[in-house]
Amino acid sequence: MSINIRLFASLREKIGKAEFNIEANKATTVKEVWTLISNDLPMQTNTLCAINMEYVDSDHKVTDGDEVAFFPPVTGG
């Protein structure tokens, strides 16, 4: 299945990409997607994850066509 990856802020800089597609097996979780894209960078405990622009836990299932985003704690305002 095809997954669209979005990375923001310090995670975008660490991994060196902002947006790209990956192909993954079925029944993949957000955490497993991170392993596929992170160049062995461990996921920080404060990393935030979203699927289709909604916050999810890292064990949430990913389905075909999802947009999966990873980013550090938010600092707006």
Binding site: F8, S10, A50, M53, A69, F71, P72, V74, T75, G76
Partner: protein, 143 residues
Amino acid sequence: MIQIREKAFQPWDELQSYQDSLQINGKYGATAVFVGSMRDFNEGDDVQAMTLEHYPGMTEKHLDKIVQTARQQWELIDILIIHRVGDISPNDPIVLVAVWSAHRANAFDASRYIMEELKSKAPFWKKETLSNGVRWVEKNTSG
């Protein structure tokens, strides 16, 4: 109304013109306004400039959720949120939150709620320029 702005804005002008557009004269008794501006210091360092990044789409979606929740919790007449992204200089306004209601308690409480939720949920990230390089702000101050 929720707006993400890439250019500097004048919060007091925005407030006046938005309020004029509402045609609610005589209906509101309270307007609570919060303006957040850029400091030239953070964590003991001088900060020369800042870049604010966001997640287009998700940011607006979550600001909208925050507004909808506030409207369910308090009796409000209107809400205005304007938030900057892009390159920002010290003293530039970053965020404007204004809440109109019939009585002050709802306006005070809802504006505080909206700001705290914005700071903890809306996907924005600050990157500071210091005299010796750049750094991402890792977390917001507690209050």
